[in-house]
Subunit: 407 residues, 2 copies
């Protein structure tokens, strides 16, 4: 455990990723109504053509386009109506012979022989079973070909996709009712500190309400993780060590949210080093805010440990940049979404460290929300943050940045 | 019930809004761990100052800035260390006298008398209780004033906000543990059609899998609504009427997803007209796709009815533009998020109707996803859609549009 060298965020991320290289998140099959918001674990291919038959996209008459020639308002073409397609019944025996037509409702199968559908608006029935059509038709008009929407064997949805409502519709259409998704990480959130009281309590002098464990638990749930437990432990190394051991047994990720004083950081690092057989990976990252970040890995139980900084906004940003980005990478998801925006005022950075800057967005403008260390309200006022590079001397007003969105 | 006149989307929305004008969504109090993703029902004010006392943002020594004068590397100032602030204990009796200092960890209370904190890095203990300080300090340096983060009586979070992880942290900090949120709409989704089979089944000729009720249920859940039930009913007016009556009893919103043929649309309209004492409000909207949309309202049970078009993407877009936008408006939320993007190719619109155009986003470019009516895969390929106005003759390549995001 090297206490002196801090890692860049990239180094810290690589070390975590290297430890996770051999561990694929588990997969499970869930029903369609539980699948929204989950991450698809495999590519899904269609086992069928959709539509399975040629389908009309209008209420109209299935015709042979050749029969209509130059039919128009002035010179309608007469066709014989020889049948009607009824939705929900088998129409596969109907066919359209030369000079004939068949009524087809929207969504109905276009009978054999026909190659186009003329909308009812252009059709006028007359006599017993005759139709005057006042419009010509081109081949394929108003007809969706079999497999035109989704071809048999074609890819429906790719691995790593977070399933949206419309994806659920596509899976329903293709008859995929057992959806393979990743089993979410199980997370234990442990906050440590003699000074912490629960939000229900009124802090006595010297006490402070626990904030980070609530923020990090909520962010974990939002990401789809399963929060196993959120607990608060006093600054007692035996009690914390016991909490870490329990968490190792049933969690994939243990988050320790402690104070930011040097003594506490060292205690957290020592406890992670003891609990994790692969030891501490990172002790301090070159980021502002967010320096007092500690990571570790236990090989035997395949558990990741992360000690987050005490600064509430820093804890959240580091959690996103190290942990959530790793989860997204492991599950093949796109990284966190960013939008381009122009910074409204000159914004300084900390030399030699990545600098996280909270911003409020208005259109394509990003207005920095300057927060003194440890302040809470700025993270609620912010719509996201951008990151300045180690070797970047701040950002000038008007410069474009990539803002990580808090939605 | 006027069968001939279609409404613009704006008219349809206004009619629904007028019916809902007297109905405020209910409110309830939930705990912090259940509050994420919910919509805040009232403005929340802080009952306390945060921090409650002057707090140090560094590990360091609380000093009187005047004492340090021009202290520097070359000429350090000597101070007497008269105490130490311990986190989690009452330090309110400590004070810093002229020529003295007190150790304060990050987050600790700055004792009376002191007006700045000097980081430990600039301090060198010597002798029994003396400290050499090699840096001057300006008043307030490294000190967060009481109430500087959140002032007592100040607004913490405004009504209508969808609570994010960081907002949960702010509520925790302020001791707000019973969070007033809106009771979500209860929604019944009824799909109708003899041709519909469930996604588990393999459609026989003339049959098709039910897609829309899965999409709309998933979208409702995503919006935070409570989906009371999703059921499929045959094209039997008595069965549908019975389903509507049941839904009226326990739902705020009844969604009917039926076929798009004229006969079915008329049946749906007649059934809504019968179930809703205020009758059908809108029968057809001037939108492409999405025309066969029907709305209605029942005063007695305060239930909204909406009959959605059969076209899957249209059903979803109409649902968002009419129903979800109404819910967001009623709960004081921001409207759906849009991003500006440039269309990559000339895109035609339907004259006299709002035209919905699906798009795929790449950076700030929006590439139209052209879908033939009723096709399913395009809605999964799309990242969102933009809307062309009734009197707009399409959009030229390179023109900017506002894209409603599907996330």
């Amino acid at each position: 455990m090297d206490l002196l060298k801090v890692d860049t965020i990239k180094e810290a991320r690589s070390k975590l990723a290297a430890c996770c290289a051999g561990i694929m998140p588990g997969t499970e099959a869930v029903g369609l109504t539980e699948a929204a918001g989950r991450i698809l674990a495999f590519d899904i291919f269609s086992k069928e053509n959709i539509p399975p038959y040629r389908r009309s996209i209008m209420d109209g008459y299935a015709v042979r386009s050749k029969d209509l020639g130059a039919a128009g308002d002035m010179i309608p073409t007469s066709l014989k109506v020889t049948g009607e397609v009824l939705l929900g019944t088998d129409s596969s025996k109907l066919s359209v012979e030369p000079g004939c037509c068949v009524y087809v409702p929207t969504g109905g199968e276009v009978p054999e022989g026909a190659d186009a559908v003329v909308m009812v608006e252009y059709c006028e029935p007359f006599g017993e079973d005759m139709l005057a059509v006042s419009k010509s038709a081109s081949p394929g008009e108003n007809v969706v070909q079999a497999g035109e929407d989704i071809a048999e064997g074609g890819i429906l949805l790719s691995k790593g996709r977070k399933l949206r409502s419309q994806d659920i519709g596509v899976l329903a259409a293709a008859g995929v009712t057992a959806v393979p998704v990743f089993v979410p990480w199980r997370v234990a959130v442990i906050s440590t500190g003699d000074e912490l009281v629960s939000p229900e309590e009124t802090p006595e002098p010297g006490q402070i309400r626990d904030i980070n464990s609530y923020t990090i638990s909520a962010r974990s749930t939002e990401e789809g993780f399963t929060v196993m437990r959120t607990l608060s432990v006093k600054d007692d190394s035996e009690a914390i060590a016991a909490a870490l051991e329990t968490a190792k047994d049933d969690s994939d990720l243990v988050v320790i949210s402690g104070g930011s004083s040097q003594g506490k950081k060292d205690m957290t690092a020592a406890l992670i080093d003891k609990a994790a057989d692969h030891g501490v990976l990172t002790h301090g990252i070159a980021a502002k805010p967010g320096k007092p970040t500690i990571t570790g890995f236990d090989r035997a139980s395949k558990t990741l440990f992360i000690g987050l900084p005490g600064h509430p906004a820093a804890a959240l940003m580091v959690y996103e940049q190290l942990v959530i980005s790793l989860w997204r990478c492991m599950t093949g998801r796109e990284p966190m979404r960013t939008v381009k925006a122009r910074v409204t005022v000159n914004t300084p950075s900390a030399p030699g460290r990545k600098t996280f800057q909270l911003v409020k967005l208005a259109g394509d403008e990003a207005e920095p929300v300057f927060a003194r260390s440890g302040m809470i309200s700025p993270m609620s006022a912010a719509d996201g943050y951008f990151i300045m590079d180690e070797n970047q001397e701040g950002v000038k007003a008007g410069e474009a940045v990539e803002v990580f969105l808090w939605e």
